[in-house]
Amino acid sequence: MSTVVPDRSSVSAGERTGASDGRAPGTFAVVRALLRKELLVELRTLESVPAMSLFSVTTFVVFHFALNRNSVDGDLAAGILWVTLLLAAILGVNRLFVADAEEGGFDGFLLAPVDRSAMLLAKALALLAYLLVLELVAVPAFGLLLLGPSLGQALPVLLGVLALGDLGIAAIGTLVAALAVRTRARDLLGPLLALPLLVPIAIGGARASSPLLALTHPGAPAARWLLTLGLYDLVFGLIAYALFDFLLED
């Protein structure tokens, strides 16, 4: 069944030019707009960062009692720190796209004439910001509650190792969150997909941090673990970039 009705309109082709004068905004302007919106929503709702921070501190307390030790160092300390940070990060990953899925943010974004990868970059940057705030709380708390040796000397290098890990968590977390959010079992699927992919970051991060947290003769992290973290970040950054467009598509 097909039909055409007589033209009753006086509007000619191209008469409506659009308020945006036909120019699509640049990718960085869009990333800035998305990131600003992301941080504003988090500041108003306080749904992710406080939960992540509180979770990390609570986990340190649980470890303190479960291990029945007043202090830890070396491999054990590094393992506890990284596992706690990864699990806390999962809380943020799970919430990353929830407002967009529930309040139509995806549709609003997809209707705009913009580069889709801007959303990947903005979400990854937002998650990175959440992780940095988490670590501002978690690392001193770890130093106070569990760590034997003083954090003082190790801190600058430890922060560098954490930053390398954060890049990977942000790339993997954003990819997994975008994949899970459109499913009915998103709260389950997010952690199930993210944790196996984050294991290499836990291994690399813990191995690189371990010498920094040793009680006696603290040393520098082995270059091979830093390289492993860096390469993993790069590989998953590229995978996320390549796949993200398809995840947003119908």
Binding site: T3, R8, V11, G18, P25, R44, E103, G105, D107, G108
Partner: protein, 225 residues
Amino acid sequence: MAALQLEGLARHYGEREALSGVSLTLKEGQTLVVFGPNGAGKSTLLRVLATLLRPHAGSVSVLGRRLPQESWAVRGRIGLLGHEPLLYRELTARENLRFHARLHGVAAARVEEVLELVRMRGRAAEPIRTLSRGMVQRVAIARAVLHDPQLLLLDEPRANLDPAAIELVDPLIGAGSRRTRVICSHDPGGGLAEADLVLGLRAGRPALLRAAAEVTGTEIAELYR
């Protein structure tokens, strides 16, 4: 020039057929009104035209561009007003509109202009979650026309609006807007009054497709039986 050209459009969700065999042509500046009971495929049709859903069969051309191959070329020229307002509940009306303005490359002055047009400047600093449904609908209309789209896709656009608000938004989304429009409606009288072309859907299939002047209210009512 045809603003919409559909030939055998079909779309399904898994096994369920949501749209099938929809063919029509709508010229620029004209209005297509779509009637049909709940689940007839009206919202699916809007989402396909908005480039948010891919057609599974048939050909779809919107504003002279084929979908989904040239979707990128029509995004930004479409204004969608669906069941969801596409507004973040925690952000204010102004923050939401500024966000959409940035995505569409629209100047901030235009945000104030559309807020004024829907008489929401006085409440623009309040979060969306605190506004009444009618006010949210007015902000959603402002969002849909913010970038001055050529094609408006409207799903029951006057829902939740009082008579004064309906009059207020008419220049933006009514016949006076002089835009090409696709409107989903359940109101035979109002819908027929602003239609050039009427499409009646039943279970995803076209049950009625004719120029509005040739359609009676009884035929529309028949779609819902």
